[in-house]
Amino acid sequence: MKSMLVGLLILFSQTPGVLKTGNPPGNLQAVDTPNDRGESITLKWVLPEDISGIEGYQIFREAEEESLHLAGYAPAGKTEYIDELGVKNNVGYRYQIRSISPEGLVSPFSEPSPMVKAYPQWFKKNLTNSLVMIIIYLGLILYFVQAAKRGKKIFLRRVPGLDALDEAVGRATEMGKPVLYVPGIWPMSEVATIAAMNILKPVAKKVAQYDSRIIVPNIYPIVMNVAQQTVKEAFTEVGKQDSYKEDDIFYLAYEQFAFAAGVNGLMVREKPATNLFLGAFFAESLLLAETGNMTGAIQIAGTDRVPQLPFFVAACDYCIMGEELYAASAYLSADPRLVSSIKAQDWGKMAIVISLALGSALTIFGLWFIISWFTTG
């Protein structure tokens, strides 16, 4: 491997012959590697005119406390090398490079590079465009929130899956059966799970108002804790704190399919009239939805996990797709501040669509210097 090569090259470098063909690479430039944590120097060079018989390039380094020594190797054809082996921050380094043939013959050294020091950076300049976009997006959200506070009306299209929540909870009440709410199988740090908790509140409120029962099995204990708190608050807000049962919001199993088996068992035994699968779901999605379908429950599912959407569409009555899940909280609460952020999302999408069209046009006309503004490389 690399070490063996370097070792061999050290051996060769001690008994150099003269490379008959090929010259050392020219114009050796050494710079502090940009946008990094330091301890790294990037070298660039121009290939010699005659490259026949060259197997690679030996890179030598010297510093105040290091004599000139072999520090790396780049195969033939390469014009760049990143030196990270033992490079220290704030120490001046100088490099030289020479070509080597398969027989171990070497060319003379190149001109030494200018002295260079490595530093850790405080900002990734290559992500400037991302930062600008985030600031603009944040500005849009704040603008629309302010606009909503001033009373500006924002139109939201109907989402049948969310409209059906009321009917689904009502049906469970009529049938005297519980509502099953599964908040996905991801931890609390995931946006889909947060969205699931946001929807749980209005659902639990409706359940409490109708004097019905809600069962929330959980895969993560922290999600369970949040769910318990959310449902308790919802029951308290409608004055039904006595109807709240902590045991109905419980930890089931940490493992995906053990959890799926547990929820399926629950559906078969308790026969909930309504199943709500809202959050991040994976391979268990169809196992849950199909079992629910067998028990005859009305089912509403929503996930941002795109590959699972076809399964939910096939087995559930309503499906909330992708970002609709995140918007559900705003939709259900009708809180203008929350609704306004959806408007900002629309503008963000518009910006991306325009960028896509612009990018395509610029590519056709070969305007690469503008295209480079859109990349993060």
Binding site: M1, K2, S3, M4, I82, F257, A283
Partner: protein, 292 residues
Amino acid sequence: MGFWQRLLKLDRRWIFLGIGLVVIFPLIYPLKLPVKPTKPSMDLFNYIDTLGPESDAVFLVNGSAPSTLPELMPMLQAILRHCLTKGVPVIFFGGLYPQYIGVAKMAIDEIIKEFPDKKSGKDYVFLGYIPGVSAVILSIGIDIETTFGADYYGIPIDSLPMMREIKNYSDISIVIDISGTSSPEYWLMYGQERYGVNFGVGCTAVSAPAYYAFLQSGQMVGLLGGLKGAAEYEELMARNGYPTGKRPATVGMDSQSFGHLLIVLLVILGNIGYFVTRRAEKTRGIEQRRKR
């Protein structure tokens, strides 16, 4: 009730029985239908095929829990077999979650029997589970030794001959995540995007469509999608004269072929039944209106 109406109300247990039979039958009597490799599989195979004993290491990640083992184990074994045959140094990471490590152990134990001269720490390194998920991926970019400390068998990494010159992603030729979850997205975000390491994926068939976008954007070197991807890799191994073992994925593809055929047949029958009964209902409605 007519035939089509009865068919539409067919007890789903008959369907389960049908699927069971068409899956089991080819496993007992394999047909060995030829598998045609697709470009994403060939890209991954060709990349690994260009590597040799002097190349940077392949960092193979097991992202398979026992549930996805039948689909993903053939991929793990085929890639391990490929690397070890060619003498490419392999770092085999047991997984980002604790339940994966058992699968990884099963894979390496099985493959290493075919290579009695290959030694742990010298030709390959087996790394165990450590918690952190995204933090682990990031930390490998800084230093593998400080991230893991020791290999699966408890031997300090700095004492393993193979690891002496392998510090972080810059000494890795490619990271390949064989995954039954969305972990490739983590490797993309924290490994490929942040450190620029080459990246390849093997995933369950259901997840494969989601990764084509990354393939086209060049963020992934190649992709093995489901059992088919594994069978394609086995086929490429065979075509290039490498050992293939029992080719479990290729055998499984016969079952999958007939399973898919049965589902297509069921869908066609269901649709015929749907149109026939709908027409019958319409005709009945017209007749009733006429009578009134």
